[in-house]
């Protein structure tokens, strides 16, 4: 199978076969990461720009390592407040980077749809490293990869995503990914944080965490942004954790071999009790090396894919 996409903007646009191809390719990439010389010449001569408008050391570092392992020339561009204040638009910035020879642009932006603007106006391949509340494809592909590694097969699994779904790009991408690969997806959180009409994408909506956890194979916890309290979406962290926090006791409602995932960093005692946070350590570490492999696969496939020739 050939990867026809020029960009990876979101999991919504990808077919289940394309998602599987990325995951399969990531397995080969993971093997590269296990060698003494963790480098292949696949993207030699290709310039990849990491254009991060939001600070995110972890995602950016993961992309950068992935790029270097593929022998790409890497340029990190983190626009400062001042250059934004100077009035340079996103498009100006990206056009300049393209003029410098970038053929792949990895973009992280606080506003939903920003990568779409670049995909429409530029000739480079665009990889979305997270846009607003919209999508975070590399995180979701990593989650899918990790789950597939542990559970072998995603189809038929039950997953529940817990927390602020409304403001979560991780949730949106994972919903698409897990549904496309045949899992049953539930979401649970305070109704103020459940996006409207989400059930139309075949997601079951719960407001009670105990009901939602019943018999699930995977629990995906979202990070709670404390500023949502100020905008009146929930009354207090205490109340939130009482009704939506994951405790060992609640986790007992899930399947015995349940996996707990969290995109990190964790607010201990809010989304997760400390004991649950300690229990899930191994999965988090695994995610780091898997993250590099998945991003290598994404970069390799868009750079060699149908659109960029």
């Amino acid at each position: 199978m050939v990867f026809e996409q020029k960009h990876i903007l979101g999991l919504e646009e990808l077919s289940s076969d394309e998602i599987r191809l990325i995951l399969d390719t990531a397995e080969s990439m993971k093997e590269v990461s296990e060698r003494d010389v963790k480098k292949v010449p696949a993207l030699k001569g290709v310039t990849v720009v990491n254009l991060f408008f939001e600070p995110s050391t972890r995602t950016r570092a993961s992309f950068e390592i992935a790029e270097k392992r593929l022998s790409a020339d890497v340029l990190n561009f983190t626009p400062t407040e001042s250059s934004v204040v100077k009035g340079e638009t996103l498009l100006d910035t990206a056009r300049n980077l393209e003029a410098m020879g970038a053929s792949v642009i990895v973009i992280r932006h606080s506003m939903s749809g920003a990568p779409w603007l670049l995909a429409r106006e530029l000739s480079s391949s665009i990889v979305n490293a997270g846009d607003g509340f919209h999508e975070h494809p590399s995180q979701a592909l990593l989650d899918l990869f990790t789950v597939r590694e542990i559970k072998k097969e995603i189809s038929g699994l039950k997953i529940v995503i817990v927390g602020d779904i409304l403001h979560s790009r991780v949730a949106r991408s994972n919903i698409w990914g897990f549904i496309k690969l045949g899992a049953e997806v539930r979401v649970v959180g305070p109704p103020t944080m459940i996006p409207r009409d989400i059930e139309k994408v075949d997601v079951k909506v719960h407001y009670n965490i105990e009901n939602a956890l019943e018999g699930v194979d995977i629990v995906m916890m979202l990070r709670l942004q404390k500023e949502r309290q100020e905008s009146g979406l929930f009354p207090s962290l205490r109340e939130y954790s009482r009704f939506y926090g994951l405790t060992r006791e609640r986790l007992g409602l899930a399947k015995a071999d349940v996996i707990v995932m969290h995109p990190g960093p964790i607010n201990r005692g809010v989304e997760l009790s400390s004991e649950v946070a300690d229990d899930m350590h191994s999965v988090i570490l695994n995610q780091v090396s898997n993250g590099i492999a998945v991003r290598m696969a994404m970069l390799y496939l868009v750079a060699s894919g149908g659109g960029s020739g």
């Binding site: 050939v2 390719t25 003494d36 292949v40 010449p41 696949a42 390799y300 750079a303 960029s308 020739g309």
Partner: protein, 179 residues
Amino acid sequence: MDSETITRALSRIAHEILERNKGAKELRIIGIRTRGIHIARRLADKIQELEGIKPPLGTLDITLYRDDFRRKTDWPSVQKTEIAFSVEEKNVILVDDVLYTGRTTRAAIDAIMDYGRPDFIQLAVLVDRGGHRELPIQADYVGTRVMTVRTQKVEVLIKELDGRDEVIILQLGSPNEAR
């Protein structure tokens, strides 16, 4: 080549490998995807038959090492490389079905070097297509040599994949279809 000549050629190659490497002890056999894997396995089996030691067998996918990146549209998917042993100070036998331009071999050598520093890398091929080499590369062990023109295509059929063993030479319409 038919099934019988192929078996005989592989048997001869196995003897030559053992002779040149003074036994099977330091041997590591790595097949290049896809058909090289099966030829490598048969060589390893033959060596075991002759020496009583089965040399460790690996699988190499060279997609990430190709130098025609961005020129092909029908880019093959990246497959897994499986080399579960160290190549450090070993005698690595690279196995492929056909040696043609030499570019695949170049990519495979680069890949092996990323796994460590073998004492020797030697190349075994079932068919050596003469006259089209683009790099200074030659095979150490050859099943058969054929002189072909670019409008021809050498196809190696393998029992495990194609149901029978055979090497056939096809005439193509244009040089672009040749591989």
